[in-house]
Amino acid sequence: MSATSDQDLIESWRDEPAPLLPVLHAFHDRDGYLSEESMRSISQGLRTPIAELFTTVSFYHHLATEEGGKEKPRVCNGPVCCLRDAGKLLEELGEGATAMPCPGRCDEPVAVLRGDEVLLGLSATELSPIPSPLPAPNPGGLDECVFGSIREPGRSTLEGYRKTGGYEALEKAVNKMTPAELVEEISDSGLAGRGGAGFPTGRKWKAVAEAPGNPKTIVCNADEGEPGCFKDRAIMDHDPHAVIEGMALAARATGATRGFIYLRYEYPGTCAILERALNEAKAAGLLGENILGADGFDFRIHLRRGAGAYICGEEGSLLNSLEGKHPFPRNRPPYPVTHGFEDLPTVVNNVETLVSAPPIVLRGAAWYQALGEGELAGTKVISLSGDIARAGNNEVPMGLPLGTLLHDWAGGPAREHELQAVTMAGLSGGFLAGDDLDVTLDEPSIRSRGSFLGAGGIIVFDQGRDMVAAARNAMEFFADESCGKCFPCRIGTKRLTERLAGSSGPGEMAGWEAEVRDIGKVMKATSACGLGMAAPLITESLLKYFPEEIARRLK
């Protein structure tokens, strides 16, 4: 069998929406890398200037441009895998192996990506592919929204999903509710963006429903790139139809006719699972035209794989990436609700947000609202990893004390050491330590300590860990992932990394602190997107909790 020709590959995608990423992957998969010749063919076929195409390819971590590159092993150098000596594994794997940013397997380190496979293990000889573990049931038997049915056997198939209440919310929305009532239900529930930004979901849907311009688009942001976050992977692997149903509800509410799932490259197994689920839903008439017999309810979902860039989780970058442009964040305003995909009204929602919608529609806004502690609405999935006895995903009531999660739910420290610090929002929230570990898991509480809950990744560091090293690892990540668009982030993340590594900058504490604080201040105030605004929380919190460790390092 001969390989598919350049022209056939391009023609199979050229008239599809958002064709660049799938075309790049088609060539990358066929040849195991992107050759100069391939890039020239794609440039001509899609009428993209060759310099733009060449440099856009360079933006993505995982598009290999040297022969055999795709199959070369990439070893996670993220914060959790580094606690498990990922550097040693990288050395063991020898020539050709390179480091990569966190691929979201912090619950079972160390992760290695090789071709289309993610392998886990602590040494080269014991690497094996392991499916995502199911989230453990919570100890209190608390009602759940996101994980409410995820442990039902067969849930990932259409048949299993329907047996356990799947697509009943969509039926209810189509048969018993107007789109406006659907939006109202979501608004009343208090559901807010679970990717970290916390924007009220109902308000977003309403804005898109009312915005002029067609076709409208629903984008599921499944580019879970934050180190220490792996909740969306668990959701998609075990409950893919919930993602589809959530998107269909958003489409019904807003009048959108096209949908995209933007899935990070590092989740190849999830890609296959979603593809199968999409085909099942299409075959059952749950996607396509006149869905569930509703006249004019048309909605299609296109699965698009990213190619390795943390910034593509930022919605402006994500939309540029989908459109085949250089994935810099967009200037705001205008916002995606009016000027999103192809400058048309677009909902961009995180996976967790979307899968929360079906239970809310079925069980009502009041039910969801009441899941949180006190006045707080709903739940949040927390990815817990690092030096903790039971790493994994937990759906917690908003407002659960952090201590309860760490000790009662997750079994406390993994090793003989006491807990020293945790990160918040993966790495983006910086560290919490000391008395601040008494926070409850909700934005008001965590923000009052200078951090934020964000996407809900929490990495635990015990007393045996070097916090300056942890901070340097985190800042290196932000520097590597800074897109290069805005000055404060591009230069600031680099300078902070150098100062944490001690490779340049003042050698005494007062001067060191003055520079680091000035850089942090300007990054927080003037960066163009959340990456640059959040990165200095690492140094800020290090200075707050561990000044003596820094001083010791500087001597």
Binding site: F54, T55, F59, H326, C483, F487, P488, I491, R495, V522
Partner: protein
């Protein structure tokens, strides 16, 4: 006819000013005294929001906003220069200064080449703080005669990339890699002459640091004497681009586009930008020459030369008829001259054999 009044008002540094919907804060502020600093801004290009120097405070908004990308809105209260804003600007400029080999460059490098130097001095940011790795990597191997690619001085504002795409439509360069590792690159990181570059030089003239330099003008770097600028129309074609011819001691040392030239707004092509050596070339004809009986060329007056040409045409007409004449108008001439030329050939000689070199 009644014109719809579209104007709105906002408060800029305590003063009520009017604006048209769609204008950015920066555009509104640029009509008032007090200059908001920028490095990634070029008014011909889509606002980019990269350098963040133009941040301003907006009442009721927590973080400063980039004035170049934020639309003005009714009743908005904006402060363009406060202690906090000016400190952000100074720190940003200190950071930018820390990534470059040098801040000061010769103005002959390009039209905008002094922008970084001027801002660093205005905000007293020549402090040497934030030292560390330098960004960019000069392409000393790109030996084209026109454009110096001294990327050690690049600050990643991407004005070159954007002017190449938005103004010239060449898309010859773009941003390679990301973060601190970003570099300006052609396709497959090659030289400009192996790319889609047409050497129009617009990237050179918009570069705010001299990272891109006008190699021809730079031949005269460091020579004594003042540079004088004269504003003629480019002689090459009928578009009528305004240029600023730079001379020192009556010698042309370079050309810069006129940013306010009505026909070009700062745009030029390779010829207008770089092809001026003919003016002072020793081989250039500065007086008519007539070939004498001896077979040699002899200097003549214009009257003598025109008489000789007219006689030649007349002789050809008499001996061989109108079909022996063929007119080719110069592509450097404007429409009016081309019209006169065809009239001259058709009415004067009685033939339709008239053409233009641009068609060839």
């Amino acid at each position: 006819m009644i014109e719809k009044d579209d104007s709105r008002t906002m408060i800029l540094d305590g003063v009520e000013v009017s604006f048209t919907p769609g204008e950015t804060i920066y555009e509104v502020a640029s009509r008032s005294p007090g200059e908001i600093p920028t490095l990634c801004y070029d008014k011909r290009l889509d606002p980019f929001g990269g350098c963040r120097l133009c941040v301003v405070e907006v009442e009721g908004v927590r973080n400063p906003v980039a004035s170049c990308t934020t639309p003005a809105s009714e009743g908005m209260e904006v402060r363009t220069s406060t202690e906090a804003i000016d400190e952000h600007r100074r720190i940003l400029l200190e950071l930018v200064a820390s990534e470059n080999r040098q801040i000061d460059v010769d103005p002959l490098r390009g039209y905008a080449s002094q922008e970084l130097t001027e801002l660093v001095d205005r905000y007293e940011a020549r402090t040497g703080r934030f030292e560390g790795a330098r960004s960019g990597s000069s392409r000393t191997d790109d030996d084209n005669p026109f454009i110096l690619r001294d990327y050690d001085l690049c600050i990643s504002c991407y004005r070159c990339v954007r002017v190449c795409a938005e103004e010239e439509g060449d898309h010859a360069i773009n941003v390679l890699n990301r973060g601190f590792e970003t570099r300006i690159s052609t396709e497959f990181d090659g030289s400009l002459k192996d790319s889609d570059c047409t050497f129009c030089g617009q990237c050179v003239q918009t570069c705010p640091t001299g990272a891109l330099g006008d190699r021809k003008a730079m031949r005269y770097e460091g020579e004594p004497g003042n540079i004088e600028k004269t504003r003629p129309i480019c002689p090459y074609c009928g578009v009528g681009c305004s240029i600023d011819v730079m001379t020192r001691d009556d010698r042309i040392i370079g050309v810069q586009p006129a940013m306010d030239g009505p026909a070009n707004l700062g745009a030029l092509c390779i010829k207008g930008q770089f092809a001026y050596d003919f003016v002072q070339h020793p081989d250039r004809l500065s007086t008519p020459l007539i070939r004498g009986e001896d077979g040699e060329l002899h200097e003549a007056t214009w009257d003598e030369a025109l008489d000789r040409a007219a006689a030649g045409f007349k002789e050809a007409l008499e001996k061989h008829g109108a079909e022996s004449v063929y007119g080719v108008a110069s592509g450097r001439a404007p429409n009016e001259a081309a019209y006169t030329m065809q009239k001259f050939i058709r009415a004067g000689f009685g033939t339709n054999q008239i053409d233009n070199c641009s068609r060839a």
